[in-house]
Assembly symmetry: C2
Homo-oligomer: 551 residues x 2
């Protein structure tokens, strides 16, 4: 059975200034629990020590893991997934609520995950021929109204600027929820002949959607994303581009984030407001709900007709361009948390982790300290020079046990421990975050730079693929092939995903949503051979669809 | 005398799809000139060829520079600096106006300059101990009102969201003009004891200020920037940080942008709304107006007192934190354009240039083409592998002469020409953007990779320092030391900067602004020795100030 992870008690700590107040803040806003005891700061101040070396005493040292003695708790994942998620975000200092309802402050550790996502995708976008640029975020309200299904989809969610420079504006301005409209307005000025095509751009930006039910990273009033926008001379090219970009996202999810998404096409009901086709990557979270983790739209000529985005083709005829748009957002950070995390907190794939290796020096006696710290610094230097993201946690303020827990909770893939005996033997102890306890711990790894570097890199690679394999197993053991509505309902009621042949109507799809809470997440690109009978109507169905409850 | 740069005539071009319409667009909005003839696209379509190799004829080839035959013009810089600036931005495709007055679309080539700025500064910020994060852009209106001078400074410029999700909001939301208020709101939740300090963060974000008079890059309703925010336990630390960051900016300006800014302290009148001290870097543009290119503020305890941002010090006493904030924005791109550009267009410092080397292959006969293109590709590959930003312009659609002009106008530091004779001799011709005509052109540089790479890198370094030296000479020859108000007025009326001893009142400073249009740009850090007589009052003055008209 899963038991609570408890962090060390206040009284065992010298500096209690880590993350607790963020928890308070998150909880307060959610009214989940009463706020923790007040007067915390004053308490901490009262016990404030000066930071001298001789304050390090043996009680705070050694490889003892001093768990189980505190009031600071991460709710077990199995007990309450949502509470666990919020606890992890607060304790790992990933994000905090902003002062305006539904807004989020992304803290450095969470932002560093987003930076890892950006660094990878930004290169891929450029490799596939896209240039970055920037469009203004204020869009005249009239633009939004031009594309019929777009306005229907977005108008309930808009934030509107009505006052600027102290004056009521003549036309209300929309704070962009997405940029197709303003992009088309500009494209009409840049696109004239077929030689101007394809036009392929991307922007990294903030967007605003006035969501009623928000959740950190997953759904916030303002979020960060990239939005790609392209214009092409033919439908075929646009289709190829839309598929290429969902493929970039899929590779990113598998190879970097270790999330085995299922890529496919959205049903008509679930297609983006203004698109002909929406491709999606769907990820299974730890609670088996689906997360739409990235989308790529074939917009057809919907926006180009609404905005008159035309080009002169090779025969001198005026044609509307064919367009795509595609996006991944800070929601993906939520996906990483909910895919890999466990009761101890975050568990980060090495390629996303802001810190890949944490080094914890351990000493009992003052005369051991210098040797241990020197060795730890030297190991840190070796690994940094090898291009790894390394944190040396050499503070006097915490016990090694506290540090072990803390960095486990922060999801750091590898921990290196160095004590006096290790210094003598020229070796270190290495623990894997993904394998708890003794099984994940190896003693006597040589400190010799080339050996250590190779060992650490191999382990990080192993962890990366191990996280992916584990997520694949979890995913596959939670998808049920169904051939009737009854079977679908049973699968969904068990919290699983249902996969079955589908050729029924939009109305049938909506009925399933109403009756089970599940929606078609996608028609996966990977399809079984042959025609089957629709699970709902029994009529021939060319494709299977995946149904699931989702975020 | 300076004559107009003319780009090739429409009729000499096959594809006329470059930049002309942006010019139209910019001009239209400014009502500077009537828009160019309509029907442009149809015209281009009528002449549209198929893109086959045999269409390349001798008229389009050779090293002939086919200038002087067109209707597309960049206004000479000396004739009308502002028109020149807008022409360069349009023709070099740096930016375009957005649909909302005062907003700007940053196009890929302009955005790539901003990315070069980001790439450098982002590393420096991290090296100096700052972490990136992200704050929401919507700030409750009440926050802005908390710091008295802050609200006074910013309230006339605010954009306000009053409607969200279809409903009138209870409290208006400010679209951030800067983030000190929301940062302090969050800092109160994260800072408790002296051990939480210093807290040093940065965000890359968009900000909105409802400016009445806008100008691309220099002053736009929405712009991109980074804003650093730090909190410290002591005034001394905050002061040190504010100075450190203005120093980071100064080094960036000199070493990357080749802009010899003058760093110093703002006068009280010019200090940021909410700061105790503002440090600035002031750059002299080609028209000798000053551009405030970056600022760093010592905020004292102004915001911490307004927001109650306190910590418990080592003696257990509650203290308000001492803060700084500092920013550089997309305005800096405008500074680069206006510092280095000339009549031919942009001139970019190699360390900022999106393209450092353009390669133009030249052939007359079809049977020469393959050899020339192969050599050009191989040279491009060599230089790319050496880490340089290279563009191979191998299109059939333009003459070499057109390409020379175009890439000069885009400010590319080095051009490599490769013709059939060069292929035979295994050498290339290299032209420098900063030295016009034959003087900047060197023949017979070996294609041998190691020789070519070294040669190109050396030339880029030379150009980088040559641009800086040129800008230093220009700056120094346009600063006049003055010892009386009369001398100051004369210097300003000649369009120069005036430097003189100053210890007079704020009222005197405002009078100078009214009477001459000049303001105190800064009290430079580099000061002459000894006490002098104030240019206005004759009383003792410890410092000289620099006065100039500014953007």
């Amino acid at each position: 059975m899963v038991s609570s992870l408890r962090l060390p008690a206040l009284t065992s700590l010298i500096s209690p200034s880590f993350t607790r107040r963020s928890t308070v803040s998150l909880r307060r806003r959610l009214h989940l629990r009463p706020p923790l005891a007040a007067g915390f700061s004053a308490q901490s101040a009262a016990s404030s020590p000066t930071e001298t070396e001789d304050r390090v005493d043996s009680k705070k040292s050694g490889r003892v893991q001093d768990r189980g003695s505190t009031d600071r708790v991460i709710t077990p994942r199995s007990q309450d997934f949502n509470a666990w998620y919020l606890d992890v975000i607060a304790n790992a200092e990933l994000a905090d609520y902003g002062p305006v309802r539904g807004t989020m402050v992304i803290r450095p550790y969470g932002y560093a995950m987003w930076e890892a996502i950006q660094d990878y995708l930004n290169v891929k976008f450029k490799e596939t021929g896209h240039s970055n640029m920037y469009f203004p975020q204020f869009i005249p309200y009239s633009f939004i109204e031009k594309e019929a299904s777009h306005v229907e989809g977005f108008s309930p969610e808009l934030a509107l600027v009505t006052i600027g420079g102290g004056k009521e504006l003549e036309e209300k301005l929309v704070v962009r929820p997405t940029s197709e409209t303003i992009v088309n307005h500009m494209f009409t000025q840049w696109i004239h002949s077929y030689r101007d095509l394809p036009l392929m751009i991307n922007q990294w930006a903030n967007v605003t959607r006035w969501e009623m039910r928000t959740k950190p990273f997953v759904r916030t009033l303002e979020f960060l994303w990239q939005e790609g926008h392209t214009a092409h001379a033919t439908l075929e090219e646009a289709e190829k581009e839309a598929l290429q970009m969902i493929d970039v996202y899929t590779k990113f999810a598998y190879e970097q984030a270790a999330i085995p998404v299922i890529a496919g096409r959205k049903s008509k009901v679930e297609t983006f407001a203004g698109a002909d086709k929406t491709y999606t990557i769907e990820a299974m979270m730890g609670d088996r709900k689906a997360l739409q983790a990235g989308t790529s739209h074939n917009l057809g000529q919907n926006f180009s007709r609404a905005f008159g985005t035309q080009f002169t083709d090779e025969n001198g005829l005026r044609q509307h361009v064919w367009q795509t748009s595609w996006a991944i957002s800070t929601r993906f950070v939520g996906g990483i948390i909910m895919t890999h995390g466990d009761d101890a907190g975050l568990m980060l794939p090495p390629r996303i982790a802001p810190i890949q290796v944490v080094i914890v020096p351990i000493w009992k006696k003052v005369d051991e300290k210098t040797g241990v710290l020197d060795a730890a610094s030297s190991v840190a230097e070796t690994l940094k020079n090898a291009g790894l993201k390394v944190k040396l946690d050499d503070t006097d303020q915490r016990t090694p046990g506290w540090k072990f827990n803390f960095w486990e909770m922060k999801g750091v893939p590898l921990r290196i421990e160095i004590g006096p005996r290790d210094v003598s033997s020229g070796s270190v102890v290495i623990s894997r975050r993904d394998i708890p306890g003794k099984q994940g711990k190896v003693f006597g790894i040589s400190m010799e730079p080339s050996i250590l570097e190779a060992y650490v890199k191999d382990r990080l690679d192993e962890i990366q693929s191990s996280l992916l394999q584990r997520a694949i197993s979890f995913r596959d053991s939670n998808i049920v092939d169904v051939s009737s509505y009854e079977e679908l309902k049973e699968a969904i009621s068990l919290g699983k995903w249902a996969r079955g042949p589908w050729s029924a109507s939009d109305a049938d799809e909506l009925r399933i949503k109403e009756e089970t809470g599940a929606t078609i997440r996608c028609f996966p690109f990977e399809q079984p051979q042959g025609t089957k009978a629709c699970l709902m109507t029994g009529k021939p169905a060319d494709e299977v669809a995946i149904f699931a409850k989702s975020y």
